[in-house]
């Protein structure tokens, strides 16, 4: 066997691995049920989230999208009334039933909520917060990472002269990008975004959307949105929910151009 042969072989195998990687599952939800007393909020959810893709969750208001997202990083802990059962696997850990340290599993996911919630500290410290929680103490490293992540969301030039001002002094659109930057700074692999543009003006929304388009090369994005056009622009994979259950899922083309169920047809008509 010649050297060139070995080279081509390894090349092929690297490529193959990447392809496998891309189509592999990063997060797996099995038999997830959520109740509040007698109210069944999530009904037997089984879902696989493909890696490095944008998965869009669609569905009418109150169908359980936010609750599903909160289950994924166990923020349901904050709500006693929610009874959660089932399993959610990430890297072989079941976040719902793990004995491992939940905060470190949560760091595998970045959260972007409907409204920005900047921490009550400076712009700089907002981004540094999660980095420090990872145990990184090296000032230079933190500084570097803060700058890099602010650049990533296109905020660096706007804030580099006032890194020590309170984060709340930024506009809402800037705050949302700051929240994204601080989420990215902990190097998550998944971004959970719950209607991240619904409180924003059109231009800030567009910026966030463009960011997502760039980020999806390196991150898995799970996006809840009510804006169908946004879903069409961003989605690789669409999950349609109604009344706590997954009704249909597939590629945007399949769902938007060829909906199978009446519920989805109705939603698409009303949503537009």
């Amino acid at each position: 066997m010649s050297f060139s042969n070995i080279d081509t072989m390894t090349e092929v195998s690297v490529e193959q691995r990447e392809i496998n990687d891309v189509s592999s599952t990063i997060l797996q939800i099995k038999d997830l049920n959520v109740y509040v007393e007698d109210h069944h909020i999530l009904k037997n959810i089984n879902l696989e989230i493909p890696k490095n893709r944008v998965t869009v969750l669609l569905g009418p208001s109150g169908c359980g999208k936010t609750t599903l997202l909160k289950c994924m990083n166990k923020l349901t802990d904050l709500y006693r009334e929610l009874e959660v059962s089932g399993s959610i696997l990430i890297d072989g850990d079941d976040i719902l039933n793990t004995s491992k340290n939940v905060p470190s599993i949560r760091q595998k996911m970045g959260l972007l909520s409907q409204r920005p919630y900047p921490l009550p500290v400076s712009i700089y410290k907002n981004v540094a917060y999660g980095i420090k929680l990872k145990g990184i103490r090296d000032k230079k490293l933190i500084q570097y990472s803060v700058q890099k992540n602010l650049e990533e969301v296109g905020l660096w030039d706007e804030v580099k002269d006032r890194l020590n001002s309170p984060a709340t002094s930024l506009s809402i659109g800037q705050q949302q990008r700051l929240c994204l930057a601080r989420g990215l700074a902990v190097k998550p692999r998944i971004i959970l975004a719950d209607e991240p543009t619904s409180a924003l003006d059109p231009i800030s929304s567009k910026t966030i959307e463009e960011l997502f388009r760039r980020l999806k090369k390196h991150y898995t994005i799970i996006l809840v949105t009510h804006v169908l056009r946004q879903a069409i622009r961003l989605a690789d994979n669409v999950v349609f929910m109604s009344d706590g259950a997954i009704i249909e899922q597939g590629s945007p083309d399949e769902l938007f151009n060829n909906p199978q169920t009446d519920k989805l047809k109705e939603y698409l008509v009303e949503g537009n």
């Binding site: 006693r80 905060p103 959260l111």
Partner: protein, 283 residues
């Protein structure tokens, strides 16, 4: 249309009357206290302790009571913060998933808040005797701290309640533990509210007479150690006001004026601080 206007007008007048009468009452209190105490309001009052014959109109001032009140106010505030801050955080962080327990704790705190200070005084007195202590600075501090503890915890609690759920979620999602969330995020977010709560509790602490009457005692000296008795301004007012001698009664009003000024200053500081911090922190 016209009727609406008349209704609107009447309502406006009633609200205005209510608001201005509150201001008028405050002004009236200040006026009485200052007019009646004016003759005795001099530098001696705040720089000297009572000399011989002070209570018969002799020389001296109420520095002993001013200092005693400040000591008791500070001491009890510190104790109440040390116990109160973790308690309030506990209610809001660890009990967050146990609504019933939260409600029970809040109910008890509200009940404690409603108990009159004289009952705290009686309790403190019993406790003091049981421990074999005398009326002293420390006994006064402990009793007043019991009195202001529920006020402090509930005010902290109210501040923490106004912190949006989204902020809790954000800090947990970044990888905080609940304790880190409490101390790094919620504490900062609520800072101005906490300062206000602390200052108002302090004001309550220095203004109370019933809780210190049997526990701190009264003395013409400034206490140097915790086991010495301590004078307080409310009691200085009380004792001097019951005197038959007009000069002494005038001094009672002057003491009341000093106490009132101290409390007004504290609430002004509270306002200033909370205004400043809320401007820089909360949108």
């Amino acid at each position: 249309m016209k009727r609406k206007n008349i209704e609107e007008g009447i309502f406006k007048i009633l609200s205005a009357v209510a608001s201005y009468s509150i201001i008028a009452i405050l002004a009236f209190i200040l006026l009485i206290v200052f007019v009646k105490g004016f003759g005795a309001l001099n530098l001696d009052m705040i720089t000297k302790t009572p000399k011989g014959g002070f209570y018969y109109g002799g020389e001296g001032g109420v520095l002993n009571a001013i200092v005693g009140s400040i000591y008791i106010g500070l001491g009890s505030t510190v104790i109440a913060i040390i116990i109160g801050a973790p308690a309030a955080l506990y209610i809001n962080v660890h009990l967050i998933r146990f609504k019933k327990a939260q409600n029970v704790v809040r109910y008890f705190l509200d009940a404690l808040w409603g108990i009159p200070p004289i009952v705290y005084g009686a309790f403190g007195f019993t406790l003091m005797l049981y421990l074999g202590m005398n009326a002293s600075l420390i006994a006064g501090i402990i009793t007043v701290s019991l009195l202001i503890l529920p006020i402090m915890v509930r005010s902290f609690d109210e501040v923490l309640c106004t912190i949006p759920k989204g902020l809790h979620e954000a800090s947990l999602a970044l990888g905080s533990t609940k304790t880190e969330m409490a101390y790094k995020v919620m504490f900062k977010q609520g800072f101005s509210g906490f300062i206000t709560a602390v200052l108002l509790s302090f004001a309550r602490g220095i203004g109370d007479a019933a809780a210190v009457m049997f526990t701190a005692g009264y003395t013409d000296l400034i206490p140097v150690t915790f086991d010495e008795p301590a004078a307080t301004l409310p009691l200085a007012v009380f004792f001097q006001l019951s005197s038959p001698i007009p000069e002494v009664r005038e001094r009672a009003y002057a003491s009341a004026a000093i106490l009132t000024i101290m409390i007004l200053v504290i609430s002004l500081v509270a306002r200033f601080v909370s205004h400043r911090y809320s401007k820089s922190n909360i949108n």
